[in-house]
Structures are given as C-alpha cells and as structure tokens.
C-alpha cells in the first residue's frame, strides 16, 4: 500500500492536475441549477480552480493563510477549498447553520483572512461580527442576490475573482506556470485542512489534518470497498463535517469519481433518484426518515398494494439479508425474493435513489437494528462505520458479508485499535490528526505521546466476531458495586429501539444492580391500546395501565436475554424498572435541547423513585412540579408500580447467523 501511495500524487491539488490528464472528459462534479444538471469535467474543474486560485492570489492570499468556506454543498465552494490548497493556504469549512457568534469564534480562532461564502445570509452573518475579525480582508460571495446595496469595499463576487484570475492567465505569461509551481511545491505532510468539531462541550476545536492523513485514509477506503472513477455520490452533508470532506472531496479527487450537488437541501431525495448514487454515507436519521416516509406513504396506499408490500417485506426480512450475504437459501425463497424484487424492492430502491447503490454507510450514532435490517433486506448493502474527525474518519468499518446490526466492524486498513483499561477505545493510524489548532493542551489530552488517540468512547471487541461494539461515552460508563461494567446509554439505546419506548434512563454506577425508568411513546402505545380496546384518558393513565407495564416488561426481558449473550455487558442486566407518569421534557430540564436525557438531573429530580428502585419497595409515590406550555406551573402526583425482572446467566455467545 505505502509503496503504491508514495508514487501517487500526495496532495489534492496535485490530484487535480493528475485527474485533468487521467480523466479529462469524465465528469468531476455536477450541480442541479435551474432544474437541469450542469456538469463540469476534470478539465473544467482544473480551469475553474486555477482561475479562482490566481484570483485569490491577486487578493493577497498567501501560503499558510486560512480561507473560510461557508455554505451549502456547491461546486464553487468545493473549488474554493482546492484553490486555497493550491496556493498553500488552508481551507476552514464552517457549519453554514451556525449562528453569527459561533462563526465569529471559529473565524477569529482560525485567523481567517478570506471567507468564501454562498449567499447574502452568510455575508450578513460574517459582516455582523466583522469588527471582531481583524484578520479578515475579503468576503467572496457566490450568489449576488440581495447584495447590490451592500458596501462593496470588502465584498468580491466569485465570478469577478475568477475573472481577475483569467485576466492574469491571459496577461501574465507565467501565471499558469506559477500556479503549477505552487502546487508542486507542497507535499503530503503539509497541513491540508482545519475542521472544527461542533463540540457538545466547550468551545469547538480545530482539528488539523495533513494531505497524508486525508489521502491515505481516503485511498485505503477506496481499496477496501473497491471504488473507482465510476462512482456517483451526492453531497448534501455539511462541508465542515469530516465525513463530507472525505466522501465528497478527498475520495472524489483520489478515485476520480463524480460528486453531485443537489439543487437545494429539500430536493435531495428527488435529486438522488435522478442521479442514482452508487456510494453513500449518511447518519442514521437520514435512513430513518426514508423508512418513515415510506411507511407513512404505504398507510395511504390501496389495500392490494398494502397487502403486497406487507407480504414481500416479510419475505425480505426473512431472506433478504441472507441473499445479500451470499448464504445458501432454499430455491423457493430465492424465487419469492426475485418476485418481490420485481414488484416491491426494486421500485422502493428506485424511490430511495438507491437503485445503483454498491456501498452505503451509516455512521455518527447507533442505528436502530430494525431500520438497518430493513435496508439490507431490500438488497441495499448498508454497512456501519465508526470514525472521528481526529482519525480522518476511519477507525473501523464492516467488511462486505460481515454485517451485524449492533457492531461497527473491524479496524480499517492500516488502523490499530485497542481498548484502554477504563474501557475507552483508542486507535493509531495514518489518519491520526496533526493536533488541535492552537491548542497543544487539549491535543496532549487526546493524543498520547506515542500517537494513540483517545476516542472518548467506551467499547469492546465482540469475542466471537472480532467486531468492535461502541457502548457509550467513556465518561458515562460506570461500574456496579461488584465491578461489572455499566454503560447507561448502551442499555438506553437497546430499549429505545422498541417503538413503544420513547425514552429510557438507566442507573447502576456505584449501585448493586441496574434499574431503568421508562417513558412510553404515546403514539405507538396509544395506537396499540386502541387496537387492544384499552381505554385511557391521559398519558399518566396509559402509562400506569397494567397491560402496558406487561408490554414493556416483555421488551425489557428481551433486552436482558440479548445482554446475557453480550460478553462484558452480560452482568449489566436490568433488575427493576418503572414507567414514568410524565414525558421527559426539555422544558422541565430533563432533556437537553437536542433531546438527550440528562441522567444526573433526572436522578436528582426523581430521587424518591430512584430510592424506591433500590430499596426493594413495590411502588413509589411521586410528586412532580411541571411547567405547562403556557408557562404556568402545576403539581402532578402519581403512584408508580415497580416491576422486578428476571436476569439471565451469561451465555457463551453464539455466532449470530446474520438474521
């Protein structure tokens, strides 16, 4: 690998020149504009980037300067990254939806001298904080709309900057040569990009990646999934996210494949259908949305279609994954699946824009096994991946044919992974970042002296499959009094994958056993109650219904059974649980604004309940102050039943036959 890599171009601008020779007439990037897909070949992109680079140079951009790139996935913004890199400047993509204040922090911290932005909205944001940005000299905008009355002194239109670059090409005999010289003057260990991680805690950190980091990771993944210049990807995730940077930028340059920029954020599904992507990367919520959309549409379909859909989805769930994994299945199953493909799966895949998909990844957080299996059952090769900005994405990925809904796969090529004593996952790879920009202290906290990076996530290797399983943030993992590992979020996610359970809060750190509080999902449980002739007048009444607690007890029991086969997690089975009388709510401070449970706050607020869970009593009275939508406060009282569960002895895990 390394010998081959050393012969290949070692920076992205070099790859641009290389691709212009290698694939002159192949599409490099497309953008749907005015309803029509506009295509730029590698030759075109080379010309556009060169014109832009020369124009930016005329604006005073020099080696080592930082260029902010702010906006949606547009060809021009991708070109801006490459143009900056060609001059030896460093692009800093910024989340387009960040508020002006956050943007000010990043632009100031990165000492950005030129910002290339999409439109008036972003111009307004940057200008509103411009007095705090001493280094910022120019704002280059793509869309001129609404900007006519602005003071143009610091504003430059993208077209004008490129025009000045083209003028230089025509007027200065050595302009083209100086561009190529500048490109040739860099190498793989140069700083390629600074990606600011959104940072749930504290200020964002600027992750510095070199060309080697980005390109070796990109090439390893290209080899891993056998990608080539014929891939089509759709770019719609934030430019500032490392995933987009690798999948829609670095890998496109390295493999020479085409990146498609959708018309707007709302048209992605339609645009994907028109393009027919072959390679995809998305967080679980994208797949969730696709599935929900399908299910909702099917509810409105006619009886025959619905019956057909229901039957063949059943067939797919039973046989689809086995067929995808090339396992032996009976002939009748194969025939039925073939018929289903004709009638249901192929049209569905077409709707999703996944007719031509070869590899699809989900990453970022845990995906519900139901959702995961649904897509695989349809014959879509959806796989899981675990990565980080600090790793240039790749830490682990699932190889073809070795797919498990609850694991994130094996270490990617050239990546070493180990589990620290506290359960934290650590890795070492060619993608390991250079450091956090201007923050040696936090760099040292994250990366050890010998180059291992702490991920902050706790996990373990499945003893049978050798796949990594991520269980929780390392700081949230605790231990029972007998020393057993407890990962609250792992348990909570397991429980929340049941549609009837909306929220779960698990306790166990420094306790004798594990207990959980559950929130029912009012829609799912409500409709279940209607179908089963259970009447109820309020959320609290439904939650307290004995049949509902039986229903949830069955779910908890299933979770316990599956935990028993789960290696190190087997000891953390749920001993007792209760169903809360009210929905956990961000207004009451029980959830964060991004709807994550605040475990500590809940433990404090419901100490009576936690006490009852651990003192063996069979019920608990609770009195809670709630804040109504109109701001009034009220008291809700309830008597909650506590249910005891059976736990199972740890089983020797059996190899999951890819269900």
């Amino acid at each position: 690998m390394t010998t081959v890599a050393s012969m290949q171009p070692d920076t992205i601008p070099k790859l641009l020149l290389h691709n212009a020779v290698r694939f002159p007439a192949r599409p490099a990037i497309r953008h749907k504009d005015l309803g029509i897909w506009q295509t730029w070949t590698w030759t075109d992109v080379h010309e556009e980037v060169r014109a832009l680079a020369l124009g930016l140079e005329a604006l005073g951009l020099r080696r080592g300067d930082k260029v902010a790139v702010i906006g949606a996935n547009r060809p021009r913004l991708y070109w801006a990254m490459c143009a900056a890199q060609a001059l030896g400047a460093v692009p800093v993509p910024v989340y387009a939806d960040s508020v002006a204040d956050e943007m000010a922090y990043v632009l100031d911290h990165a000492e950005v001298s030129i910002a290339v932005v999409q439109d008036q909205e972003q111009v307004d944001k940057v200008l509103s904080v411009a007095d705090r940005l001493k280094q910022l000299s120019y704002l280059v905008y793509d869309e001129p709309r609404g900007l006519r009355d602005y003071d143009q002194a610091r504003l430059k239109s993208f077209v004008d900057v490129q025009a000045s670059g083209r003028l230089r090409l025509a007027a200065e005999y050595d302009a083209s040569a100086s561009f190529e010289q500048s490109v040739a003057g860099q190498n793989g260990c140069d700083l390629a990009i600074v990606l600011y991680t959104s940072g749930t805690t504290g200020r964002p950190k600027g992750v510095m990646l070199s060309f080697d980091n980005v390109l070796i990771s990109a090439r390893n993944a290209i080899a891993f999934d056998q990608l080539d210049e014929n891939e089509e990807v759709i770019a719609y995730l934030p430019l500032a996210w490392v995933g987009d940077h690798i999948f829609s930028y670095a890998q496109s340059y390295a493999a020479g494949y085409c990146v498609n920029c959708p018309e707007t954020a709302e048209t992605v599904v339609e645009d994907r259908r028109e393009i027919g992507t072959t390679y995809a990367f998305a967080p679980p919520r994208i797949y969730e949305n696709l599935l929900t959309l399908t299910m909702v549409r099917m509810e409105d379909a006619g009886t025959i279609k619905r019956a057909m859909f229901g039957y063949f989805i059943g067939v797919a769930r039973r046989w689809g994954e086995k067929i995808l994994n090339r396992q032996r299945v009976p002939l009748t199953a194969r025939l039925l699946y073939g018929l289903g493909a004709l009638l249901v799966y192929a049209p569905l895949r077409n709707r999703f824009g996944l007719s031509r998909i070869r590899v699809a990844y989900t990453a970022g957080e845990a995906i519900g096994p139901e959702i995961f299996r649904f897509f695989r059952a349809l014959g879509i090769n959806l796989k899981q991946l675990y990565g980080q900005t600090e790793a240039s994405v790749y830490v682990t990925a699932q190889p073809d044919g070795e797919i498990h809904a609850d694991s994130v796969g094996k270490p990617s090529p050239d990546v070493e992974v180990k589990i620290a004593d506290n359960g934290e996952v650590m890795f070492h790879s060619p993608g390991v970042f250079l450091g956090y920009y201007k923050d040696p202290q936090r760099t040292a906290e994250t990366r050890t002296a010998d180059g291992w990076v702490r991920t902050g996530d706790a996990g373990f290797f499945d003893p049978v499959t050798g796949h990594l399983k991520i269980i929780d943030r390392a700081k949230d993992v605790g231990r029972l009094n007998d020393g057993t590992l407890v990962a609250p979020k792992y348990l909570e996610n397991r429980l929340k994958f049941y549609p009837n359970i909306k929220e779960a809060v698990a306790f166990g750190d420094r306790r004798d056993y594990v207990c959980v509080m559950l929130n029912i999902d009012p829609i799912a449980v409500g409709s279940w109650a209607e179908r089963n002739n259970i009447t109820f007048a309020s959320y609290a009444e439904l939650a307290a219904h004995p049949l509902v607690s039986d229903l949830l007890a069955r779910h908890v029991d299933e979770v316990n059974r599956s935990l028993a086969a789960d290696g190190p997690m087997a000891g953390a089975q749920i001993k007792r649980f209760l169903i809360l009388h009210k929905e956990l709510d961000a207004d009451d401070g029980e959830l964060t604004r991004t709807l994550k449970v605040r475990r500590g706050f809940i433990a404090e607020r419901y100490r009576v309940l936690v006490g009852a869970l651990y003192d063996g009593s069979s019920a608990a009275d609770v009195e809670t102050e709630v804040i109504f939508e109109d701001g009034r406060k009220g008291i809700v009282t309830a008597r909650l039943k506590i249910i005891d569960m059976t736990t199972y002895a740890a089983r020797q895990p059996v190899v999951e036959k890819a269900a």
């Binding site: 005015l34 309803g35 709309r145 609404g146 009355d149």
Partner: protein, 266 residues
Amino acid sequence: MRAPAPDQTAASEVILGVENVTLSFGGVAALRGVSFEICKGEIRAIIGPNGAGKTSMLNVINGFYQPQEGRITYKGRTRHTMRPAAAARGGIARTFQNVALFAGMTALDNIMAGRTLKMRRGFFWQALRHGPALAEEVVHRRKVEEIIDFLEIEAIRKVAVGQLPYGLQKRVELGRALAMEPDLLLLDEPMAGMNLEEKEDMSRFILDVNNHYGTTIALIEHDMGVVMDLSDRVVVLDYGRKIADGSPEEVKADQKVIDAYLGVAY
C-alpha cells in the same frame, strides 16, 4: 431597514398616476376622488381599515373595475379606463387576496401559465409540442426556472398547488405574476393568513423582487410592521377617500390615520 435608492427621490419618474378616481356600486361609493402617484422603482403601500376601498383601487388600476370618474395615466398614456388585457400587456401583474391558482396543476405549470402572453406560437404548434413551439418552450421554461430559483421553490416544482400549504401557494402566485416580467406588480395582501416566519420570507422576496428586477410594487397589507418596513411611501384610504400620503414615518404620525384605525367618536 431599507436604504433608499439614491436616484429615487430625486428623479421620481411617475409610472402610474391616478387622478380623481371615483367608483361606486349603485349607491355605495367605494372610491371618492382618489388621486396619487406611483413612482418607478418604489414600493408603494396602500393601507386603510376594512372596507376602505383598497382592493377596489387595485381593481381600477388593472382595469377590472371601470371608475365612473377620473383618469389613469400609465407609462405616459392617459385613459379614462384601463382594460385588464391592456393592463397585462402593458406590464401590470397582480396577485389576489384569496389565492387564485389552478389547484390541479403543478407549481411549474402555474408559473408557466404566467408566460402565456409572451408566447407567440399558435395552437397548432403548441399542441404538437415540436419545432418552433418546443424552442419557444425552452426559452420560457428557463425564465420560469429562474423564478423558481429566485423564490426558492425548487422542491415543490412538480407538486400540484392544491396540496401545498397556504404560504407556499402565495409564493407560487407571486411567481406566476413575476413570470409576466411586469413593470408594475400589484400585490393584494401578500401576507394575509401567514405566520411570522412566512411573513418574513415573503417580505424578503418582495424586497428582492424590487431590488433584483427593479419592479415597481404596489401592495395592500394589514400588518403595519410589514408595511412600515417594506414600503417607500404609503397611501392611506378610509371610506373611499385618501386621508394621508407620504413616507411611513409621516403616515404613522398623522392624526387622521390614527383616528381612522383606532376609531373616533363623531
């Protein structure tokens, strides 16, 4: 909020003048001797309490109603009455208080309909959808796509407008009016029934239309905040009479306007 265009107040070329217009339905006088002017490139608001004659005024301007008295001067030509077709050919487009779109047609087709007056090919070629008609359609489709891009409605291009929420229907209607490439755009309560966010969006589109295409806009609106932010000059009608005319600040401070809105004991 708006920086006044430098040349506007000085040059102020009148695009439309209304002189002494009186309109009555039977014994009910909707407009009584109203006169005002709309200058090229400005956003002119027409406000007033319910039944003040605002919509009647717009209907007179685009020729839908024939006033009994008065004269209308549009682009230098004075006439007693305007006919709707003449108004449309002359570059006056409008939207309606209650959305008037073709509900079964897509947003794209609705906006295409706005280009009808600009199409030259006859029924024969149009029906064939080949040859010159096709070439013509390509040109018009491009214009329409520019409008779709401008109004940010790409995602609903192929959705039947009957299925769209109200705020988007309003936007499609604005798109159809823009498809005529009007010189004067009449907007009848463009923001009625919208929530705050939709109002903000629509305000931005109105400003952008004015700024980008240089279209003169006359609008009727009830939301005073919107009117004060958007318009260069405001005409206030009450019981069919003009009671004030001037900049938003002047009008806001006018005692007659305050009385008309708050009611006053006679």
